[in-house]
């Protein structure tokens, strides 16, 4: 499906508005949209809503043999998928440029920054290491997928609990997840020129500057695309704004993690089911409902007795000669019809018995 194209008057309007420092939804030039982070029932599952952009991330792990070149390091695997739900323009199994860019940027940000110590993922050197798999699904595209994806990935990694491993000689047994915590340094990507563009604004853009930074003001990666010429002080200004935003977002993530930890410790209900807002008019929840089963047995037996069982007629085999048996009589061969046969009345030839299987078996 193709996405609706942006009309010329819309484009002109957006550009004029940005020049006048006004944005489509009334934000300031450097304002972020509302970020909402929720965690799921199992560890490592996180859903992020950046305005209307929605992203789901799941972290899972598996014991695998390590790469030959690095026998003492674990493996990290990133996979970002643009779900066809997110936009009519996204088709399943299509390697679009956007997908490749997002994947590469996410991988660079998380892998090269060494936010997870891969040495700690090693279980038995040269034989078994943990492979951490991060799956990011984009559920709704309303601009700024990069930021949403990186926030989701980092939150999910922080939330994830790796199962503990007990090693006895050669045997490795995996114990259910404990509080084995990994504290990755939080790196977040901030997209630029106009902070956090929404989908319409993204379509009008000429270029994109993505800065990945952590709260200690260390830059992990900068990527500029679109061929725009940036002045040195513009880049410096962007990085200053990025540091402010990153500290805000890091605090938000930490708060969300704290809340989740508290709820789990207190034994309260957690997960996506609980985080569904109840006051909205578009949501409805129903408690456990028992089902009336008083006359189920009667209706069921009634139906079973009413249906007649078909009598199956199975022809018994007839021994024709030593090593050859025949089951049934078979139908008339209709492949090679001779011309004489066509003159004769058809009905006599076509009469067959009720059984129609011929089975010849050679018995040793």
């Amino acid at each position: 499906m193709r996405d609706t194209p942006l009309s010329n008057c819309e484009r002109l309007f957006l550009l004029k508005a940005i020049e006048a420092k006004k944005r489509l939804d009334g934000r300031q030039t450097y304002d972020y949209r509302n970020i909402k982070i929720t965690f799921g029932t199992d560890y490592g599952c996180c859903s992020v809503e950046l305005g209307k952009t929605r992203v789901l991330c799941q972290v899972s792990c598996e014991l695998v043999p390590p790469k030959d070149s690095r026998p003492t390091e674990g493996i990290m695997f990133f996979n970002l998928e643009l779900s066809p739900m997110a936009s009519p323009a996204f088709e399943p199994n299509r390697q679009s440029e956007l997908l490749v860019t997002l994947n590469r940027q996410l991988e660079r940000c998380l892998r090269n920054s060494k936010c997870i110590d891969t040495e700690s993922l090693c279980v038995v050197s040269g034989e078994k290491v943990w492979q951490i798999r991060v799956d990011v699904h984009v559920l709704n595209q309303d601009g700024n997928l990069m930021d949403a994806a990186s926030i989701a990935a980092i939150s999910a990694l922080s939330h994830f609990r790796r199962p503990d491993v007990a090693i006895q000689g050669q045997d490795v047994t995996v114990v259910s997840p404990e509080t084995a915590e990994k504290r990755p340094r939080l790196f977040i990507c901030i997209s630029y020129l106009l902070v956090d563009p929404c989908e319409r604004e993204e379509r009008v853009k000429d270029g994109l500057l993505v800065i990945a930074m952590n709260k200690h003001r260390e830059i992990c990666s900068i990527q500029s695309s679109g061929g725009i010429m940036l002045l040195k002080d513009q880049v410096l200004r962007c990085s200053k704004i990025a540091s402010v935003k990153v500290s805000e977002i890091t605090e938000l993530i930490n708060k969300a993690l704290e809340n989740d930890r508290k709820i789990r410790k207190e034994g309260g209900k957690f997960g996506f089911a609980e985080s569904m807002p109840k006051e909205r008019i578009t949501t409805l929840k129903r408690d456990d409902a028992p089902v009336e089963m008083t006359d189920v047995k009667e209706t069921a037996s009634d139906i079973v007795n009413r249906t007649e069982t078909t009598t199956e007629v199975v022809p018994s085999p007839v021994l024709v000669a030593m090593g050859t048996a025949q089951v049934g009589e078979g139908i008339v061969n209709s492949w090679a019809l001779d011309e004489d046969e066509e003159d004769e009345p058809q009905t006599e030839d076509r009469k067959t018995g009720t059984v129609s299987d011929v089975c010849f078996c050679a018995v040793e």
């Binding site: 599952c45 559920l139 996506f272 569904m276 129903r286 028992p290």
Partner: protein, 220 residues
């Protein structure tokens, strides 16, 4: 003879939210206990020439698992959902178009196919696509002692030698639209499960009615 214990015939706590995504024409989440599915519907929309049908709409269903790439298991579920949707939608009203249903597994705690079907129906309602009847789905599990459990959790499903039966039931006459089963069971047990599912579906249809009533309650 199978026992019908009242304590096992409880539908888990369920809930749904509609219109939560801005891009798809219709969207909904359906939550059954801890199992949660997000559905998005696009339609009627443009269809590729290779897939178009001259007198009706083409229905496509995509199920995306949370981890890894979709495999054969997802394809069989997609087939079940697609056949049910094709039976319910009035496809001849939109020839040469496509109706795409995308389902994302948010959490799987048992009764996954049922939750997918329920979420799909709510999303189709939200998108406003014309349907001849609504559908809902119930899963039953028959334990090896012969006990029938409705809406099983993942733990109950995984018990050895448990048969799992999923039925899609339509709203007008409570007929069975689709059935998907694994494991062995007798004819008697099958009919009992169908009867139980029909009873349970009445509650789910009432839930659909209530959520739509609530949604449009503010409109005078």
């Amino acid at each position: 003879m199978t026992e019908l214990d009242q304590s096992c015939s409880v539908l888990r706590e369920y809930g749904s939210e509609q219109s939560l995504l801005s891009k798809p024409d219709g969207s909904s989440t359906f939550v059954q206990g801890d199992t949660s599915i997000l559905a998005g519907v696009y339609g009627p929309a443009e269809v590729k020439v290779s897939k178009e049908i001259y007198d009706r709409a083409t229905v496509e269903v995509l199920i995306q698992p949370k981890m890894g790439l979709p495999g054969v298991r997802e394809r069989t579920r997609e087939q079940c959902v697609r056949e049910t949707c094709k039976a319910a939608l009035l496809l001849t009203l939109h020839p040469r178009s496509s109706v795409t249903v995308i389902l994302q597994v948010i959490h799987d705690d048992g009764s996954l196919l049922s939750c997918c079907l329920n979420a799909a129906c709510m999303a189709l309602m939200d998108a406003g696509l014309p349907m001849s009847h609504l559908f809902c789905s119930v899963t039953c599990a028959i334990s090896k002692e012969g006990q029938i459990i409705i809406d099983p959790t993942a733990r109950q499903e995984k018990v050895r030698r448990t048969a799992l039966l999923t039925f899609a039931i339509e709203s007008v006459e409570c007929n069975v639209l689709m059935s998907s089963t694994t494991g062995s069971f007798s004819v008697q047990e099958l009919q009992q499960c169908i009867a139980i599912s029909q009873k349970a579906s009445e509650q789910i249809f009432q839930f659909y009615r209530d959520s739509v009533k609530r949604r449009y309650s503010k409109i005078k």
